[in-house]
Homo-oligomer: 357 residues x 4
Amino acid sequence: MAMMKAAVFVEPGRIVLEDKPIPDIGPLDALVRVTTTTICGTDIHILKGEYPVARGLTIGHEPVGVIEKLGSEVRGYREGQRVTAGAITPSGWSNACLSGCGAQDGAGTAHGWKPLGGWRFGNTIDGCQAEYVRVPDAMANLAAIPDELTDEQVLMCPDIMSTGLGGAESAGIRIGDTVAVFAQGPIGLCATAGAKLSGATTVIAVDRIAGRLEIARLMGADLVINSSKVDPVQEILRLTDGRGVDVAIEALGLQATFEACLRVLRPGGTLSSLGVYSGDLAIPLGPFGAGLADLRILTTLCPGGKERMRRLMSVIQSGRLDLKPMVTHRFRLDDIEKAYDLFGHQRDGVLKVAITP
Amino acid sequence: MAMMKAAVFVEPGRIVLEDKPIPDIGPLDALVRVTTTTICGTDIHILKGEYPVARGLTIGHEPVGVIEKLGSEVRGYREGQRVTAGAITPSGWSNACLSGCGAQDGAGTAHGWKPLGGWRFGNTIDGCQAEYVRVPDAMANLAAIPDELTDEQVLMCPDIMSTGLGGAESAGIRIGDTVAVFAQGPIGLCATAGAKLSGATTVIAVDRIAGRLEIARLMGADLVINSSKVDPVQEILRLTDGRGVDVAIEALGLQATFEACLRVLRPGGTLSSLGVYSGDLAIPLGPFGAGLADLRILTTLCPGGKERMRRLMSVIQSGRLDLKPMVTHRFRLDDIEKAYDLFGHQRDGVLKVAITP
Amino acid sequence: MAMMKAAVFVEPGRIVLEDKPIPDIGPLDALVRVTTTTICGTDIHILKGEYPVARGLTIGHEPVGVIEKLGSEVRGYREGQRVTAGAITPSGWSNACLSGCGAQDGAGTAHGWKPLGGWRFGNTIDGCQAEYVRVPDAMANLAAIPDELTDEQVLMCPDIMSTGLGGAESAGIRIGDTVAVFAQGPIGLCATAGAKLSGATTVIAVDRIAGRLEIARLMGADLVINSSKVDPVQEILRLTDGRGVDVAIEALGLQATFEACLRVLRPGGTLSSLGVYSGDLAIPLGPFGAGLADLRILTTLCPGGKERMRRLMSVIQSGRLDLKPMVTHRFRLDDIEKAYDLFGHQRDGVLKVAITP
Amino acid sequence: MAMMKAAVFVEPGRIVLEDKPIPDIGPLDALVRVTTTTICGTDIHILKGEYPVARGLTIGHEPVGVIEKLGSEVRGYREGQRVTAGAITPSGWSNACLSGCGAQDGAGTAHGWKPLGGWRFGNTIDGCQAEYVRVPDAMANLAAIPDELTDEQVLMCPDIMSTGLGGAESAGIRIGDTVAVFAQGPIGLCATAGAKLSGATTVIAVDRIAGRLEIARLMGADLVINSSKVDPVQEILRLTDGRGVDVAIEALGLQATFEACLRVLRPGGTLSSLGVYSGDLAIPLGPFGAGLADLRILTTLCPGGKERMRRLMSVIQSGRLDLKPMVTHRFRLDDIEKAYDLFGHQRDGVLKVAITP
């Protein structure tokens, strides 16, 4: 049995590099040799035991690689082809997918919907922080990478970029909108970029770290607010002459930022939430207009599937957006435990790490 | 100075019938002689002092009547014409109106948006529980009543019907959807009707009062749940084979019903909130999918304006919906204090009262 | 080799019942024993040679039946289960499907889109006017039929009902809209029903045949116009006080009806086209407002897939719509050539025929 | 009676500068002293007699100026304030306006809709190629110009920019779309800019004039096609690997470009039409998929109103778009006949002229 290296969840507090068999594949699967992958904030939640997964599971949901082998029923690809796949891998055929919501794919359930069901890599099946990964429903998920793009250029497509842009897209941003984005971690930075790409003409980026606000400007922020220095709610109301913003994007997952979003929205505005929360949220009565302010609160889970990846890569290819500044550190797969240590503790100004098996 | 009778807010706990001057009108206004009006749940909040208005203000925001006099700049109407106007009276020219959100009309503010700003009758200007009412921005708001419709037939259009149907419309209900409506007071009943009108094929009505559930069936409910007897969340999940509903409509304004809505939603579902809340709301983490379930929470304030009234009256005229069962009691304006007493204490199975000056 | 009866296209003018092998199935397919099917207007185009298909192809795209055999990779079904499938059978995994447009499925093409590519039964693969039919991509397409519904009750779901309702849905009909539907053949009747289901409050049905207008009333038409007796354009303008309609639906496929739709639209209105045209169309300058009237012209190909079928069957089950009046004649498969003769010549007031193998 | 200079339509072939009285204003109007205006392609149609207007009418619908006087009922502005107003001046209160379609404003008609009814300046009332212009429904239409923007920077907002961007917005362009824009006159150039602002990642500009294609690149085109040298349909299909474009924008008003749009659309694509046509249009059967290709054809008339102007000026202010390259020539109002001559004959590479009274 051929073996490979893989980053495996052992128990809360421990993700370690182990030897595992190279995955077998079924008729609809593909085996992809991973050439680049990364670590996500969600993986840190898994590491800490805050998000439960099975012991022994290979972690990681952001694959870039080369097709090693195709299942017997897979058409339209060739071995050796450079590909990526989304963090979310919709089946294509569930009721959720056929309703345009593959992230909540319930393939195999009686009714075809399952919360977060489209998220399989490193959650319900082995992930891609490994030398090889099995991609399920390959025909719905494998997206060919254009030759002119490097691995690192497309490394954010599977999750960070899809999620961040998705938050802007769900909000229905219109040309001329004013948008505030709370928190400029990797997803918030992509939400900032997404707001600009969608036609917002005043994008206000908020964070506590000056370095992130600098990158936010590169991503399209017109104005930046360092929330360690000023109250961002007051500052946004001041900057908008008391009007508030059309759209506020939450990209951190805390009550404070969720609430700040509500406080800066104009009546009729939209709160687009991307954060992963760890407790109940409170909606304050006043900013909610007691239920009468024509507000919308939306949440978006990373959209996946090959068509999504194709679109995101076209953004990169067009030069509209350059996400390379977000890859701040690089590690070999052999050193992934060091990468977890650095990323988990947010040391050294890390934004995203590239891991190469 | 010609005088009239009007129901006036004196102080918390007291709305009394007083003599007041018949209103003067400006160039863009109309004076309407009220022939039928009603009392709204919001008026009870005002009565109790829970929603503050100026002392001396005439209450009431649901006018049906006859044009007595037109302002010098008003075109397209004639004196003696039967008309209604929405509870919300958009100016038409504010930035909020020009953005399609007249309920948050900020006409006169620097930026053109104001929370609830479109609600003027019985809130920021004198209302229509009186013999006469001044209708501002008459050309945007006066809607001619078709001859074949009686006053009582259109009495729900200004608020209850516009709000209830609005909750269904905002939710983007599609043909084949399953919709749960929590609480079957007047607005909930109209939301139930709105869900059916929008193409929902399983409409589930929830209330604690058997009589209201009977009316809910008349309004279009396919299934009814008496929440004083069974847990509506468990029952809805059972009825939907664990799938949950596509849309849940909150029509009461309580944490319990808001939360129940979240608990019965499928992933990717929509909570359409119509209730007026009186405290902070909590979003429970699990039903919210920790922010990852692709949910939408929307609030809708009663849409107003003459085009809205025209559309709603066409619903009545088409026979698609008959709201007469909702008018359970009738009073002369002279007896409006008794009507407040009955309606405020929800005695005698009251749903809505018709008040005729 | 087990054999079956099948209606086969031999050459223009000849569709005949022949013996053919029962289809083999692949890992993702299902074999369905057909219990009821029907003939579509499109099949008559094929018969006449107006729409080209391969000689020897089994015709028919509206299957109701029982699962005889499941492919090795198919999960979530059992043999013996009653099922239907749409006329359009999306793969689920093409770029078109992942974009929510399975009717233009280009599974297998380089870019994932192909005009009409989702229409396979009786077009690019063998259809269901036969004892057995192979259903491709079974997991995306097989929809279980609720026990309480008969074959005939769901027989319109695969095509006629999906197309007709689809024309109303694409148009974005809103509560209170006025809608005109030109031609009340089977698809037009379903469009009439779809307009009512979507909240239109004045549905105007147009046809030249009095009997069809009677059925149109059953399907939800508020007003009917016999275009063999009056000019429908003038009549609609009269009925709407010169305002025109919000939405006009074309359900015949002729220049005359297409043009009449444009002539009755209000500025800002929507023409939803369902017809299959056989020549170039002309857009008259005046009704088109020289390009300045904020009009929309939309075409809709029958939506397919199991989720669509589930929704449509829920409409039937809810009692919102009863399509049984549309099944006017019944034939055994052995007599399908007679059925083609009757249906092709539109004799005896035929609307739809039920064919039972 | 105070007099002013104004460009007046005398008869087909003659627009001349004449002395006219400075307009009187009513209670809802404003008198604006024009500081900069321009000539539109539509004005040339008027000049040639192709679009009929009343003799003696002042031409021009793109005003930039200073408030000279406010009507008695106008609030929220001050005399001396720099303002602009859209080419389309919605009343705000018609049924069309309250339906979000002010361009088809039928204020004063029985039903509230009138084709092109929102276009009043230089069409149904005196326009702004004059020293002064009366702005009707001033509160819905006057938009304050930010101090940091010059007259010329906002000169395209009233018509060209609003129309061009509107064509992109109506089409519902999504991040990652491929968009072709046929013809790069002033409106086409703005449509090109609008496509990029909306998130399209491959914008293909087509024109016959090399100089316009150069400006198209400045406006956001990724690829340009000189249709005097290559067949643009073949070239676009080649560039998209046979896939076609998601959206095609027609910005010329000819059968050839309209048809080319259809020929380059993918199934399920959108044709957004901005051109003013002068004859019937033909829809070719094949590219239209015989009505089965899930296509959309939309037309957009320039959106107006102060909120629209505010949004467009925010685009300029944000630096997302610089339209100064489009102002190629400048004239005094006294020389406007020369400007008509130059612009009408498209001499000297003219795109837009600035006229200063």
